[in-house]
Amino acid sequence: MWFVDHAWLVPLIPALSFAIILLFGKRFPRGGSEVGILAVSASFVLACGTALQWINHVQNAKGSEPSVDPVIHSVTWFQNAGVKLTAGIDIDGLAVVVMFVVTLVSLLVHIYSTEYMRGDIRYTYFFACLSLFTASMLLLVVADNTLEMLIGWELVGLCSFMLIGHWWEEKPNSDAALKAFLTTRTGDIGLLTGVIMTFFIIQRSFGVGSFDIQQLHQAAAASSSPAVAHALGIQSPGHTIVLWCAAALMLAIVGKSGQFALHTWLPDAMAGPTPVSALIHAATMVVAGVFLGARLYPVFFHGFSIGDGTANPMAVIGGITVIIGAALAFVQDDIKKVLAYSTISQLGYMVMALGVGAWTAAIFHLFTHAFFKADLFLGAGSVSHSGSHHSFDMKKDMGGLKKYMPQTYWTFLIGTLALAGIFPFAGFWSKDEILVNAGHNNYVAFVVVGLVGALMTAAYMTRCIYLTFFGEYRGGHGHEHHAGDDSDILPADHAHEPHESNGIILGPLWVLTFMAVVVGFLNFPHFSKFEKWFQPSSPESFKGILHAVAFNPILAAVSFTVAVLGIVIAWAFYAGKLHALHDLSERNKVAHAGKTFLVNKYYLDYLYENIIVAAIKGPIAAGAYWFNQHVIDNVLNYTGRGARVVGRFTYDYIDQKGVDGVVNGIATVTGEAGGEARKIQTGRLQFYALMLVAAVLVFAVILWIAT
């Protein structure tokens, strides 16, 4: 098993590539990008080899309940007072899956970036960061101890900071980078605490402290009952410390994976270049949190008592995030922000799946989501690159792009269908598996949450598709009526027709689209290869945690119907309404040239009017208008408006005032405390030195008296 045994090469190669690009990148004919692509390709090949050998390894396992131990190789990093710190690899199904996803998506993003970032002022630097980003995520994935994971984790955070703030000359971008960094840092406090606690959990169980993940699994399992502890031949660390460790690590997941309350950095992170967004949202950064949850799953399972079917922090936070993220996606005009909130919602699914005991479903969803979300982000990038003059505003600069960019349209559409959970695309299978498992483990409430989330997902993605690709093109026309305010922002070529992107951009899109279509079948009922190959099967520490659940056709039919319903409602609401509004504008005799822009302008006004002002002003006119509508139309309207109100409310009050308010409050308090503290900062070096000498003297006197 050469590939599995040498999996440490997978993170090492991009790390070397980072160094090479940083030091010599500018001397290469293509500015270092070829080094990055070559390195990530090598990593991808190695990851594929590892995956194939692992699958082969699993297939060859004998016995009725074949147990396949992870492959672990480690070297001693340093040793002191009986405590040994190691660095090494721990290759099992989970690591293999995530390695494959990270290297594939990263490779496609690298290729895509050569076109998307062409002519960028920091082209070489960008590729260096991409390499480091990939390397640190892979380090996190192969790590065999929590300390090594911590290193990878922090490096991932650092790289996302550098890449989100890639165009730091503009203040909002550098603000967004800082926000992402500081928000995830808040969660990282939890990780640091949790990692320190793993040491003591293992110390209690094994007598000697360590950060080893396998030992941690066993110790966590031992905390569940004395019988298990006896069977494993170790002491139980006690439930309390495992619970606290799980809580601390949960904070880390909340920060990194954009779960509710710390999710606000993710939409702002859209300030980075689009390929970076794809990488952050599909393969690195945000999935790091879910990966941590899956990697240290016994800690959460036994700490939060997930097995007994009661609500636990993990499932509840995940569930809230599913709904909140989906609701927020309704009110965004920026296509990337729609996708960002969508990611938050989908990450909520994964965390919720972990919280309801559906480990395999969570990882399967991570796997499928990576492909179609990367597809959607790169598609959005393609739209802005060639269709909307580098704008991401769906209402102002897009619309009707279907006929200009047919290939982008098709890839985006398939990605959307996969995300919405439409049979037979990837998202259908993974989302369904989460729901089936949640139902099987008696988490009925979360099945409902999942279904509502599926409905909303289908609806907001339909809105997104509609605004971007249907209707009429608004970019060029809208601009003419708006000459005063944005003519200086748009580049001079705005008169150009939108056109299809070239092959370097479309190639990765089609690869990802292909993956989005096929990967779902890996866990086709009764085929279930994903489960067989990648589910951990070391029996002691995962005993009682994982169990296969049969595919449930009724639930699948329900979730499919719900998704279709979401699409139909949204389509009727957005596409149908536009025609009615068109008439309205003619009746009101508000004459302007440039119909499309008008329609959109009114469309906005109309929505605000109905939601906010309708109750106050002109009930008669409103009533007359309502009577004009068909009965079904009304039902559709209510659903659509309901979603918008919920979304707007969540955005305005919970997100902006509640969460941001708390964050701002903390910042104000800190700022004022700092204001008081600054008075002793005279800025005079010798004053500081004097303080230093005085302090030493005081200590010396204390020491002298004490002895």
Binding site: Q681, R684, Q686, L690
Partner: protein, 99 residues
């Protein structure tokens, strides 16, 4: 041997160094005062090493010398940069960190 005289010399040098660091305005003089303090520490180390018949003190003094050399290198580079930016090497002018 007598230890006292060495320790007294060390203490005197150290106090001179501290006085220099706290009162001199010129950055280079402050650096020189720091060197004095380091020299005082070295005298103590060597004196105690000889007193206990233990070479560790001397070895340690060698380490201090090496670090001091590096420190002077960096210190002078900083002084140069300060002078280039502020056109003065007066410590009172370096108050960017003033709160």
């Amino acid at each position: 041997m007598l230890l006292n005289q060495f320790l007294l010399l060390g203490a005197f040098l150290f106090c001179t160094g501290i006085y220099g660091v706290l009162t001199r305005k010129h950055t280079v003089l402050v650096l020189m005062s720091i060197e004095l303090m380091l020299a005082a520490v070295n005298i103590n180390l060597v004196a105690f090493g000889a007193f206990h018949n233990d070479p560790t003190g001397q070895v340690f003094a060698l380490f201090v010398l090496t670090i001091a050399a590096a420190e002077v290198g960096i210190g002078l580079a900083i002084v140069l940069l300060i002078y280039r930016n502020l056109h003065s090497a007066d410590l009172d002018d370096v108050d960017v960190m003033k709160g």
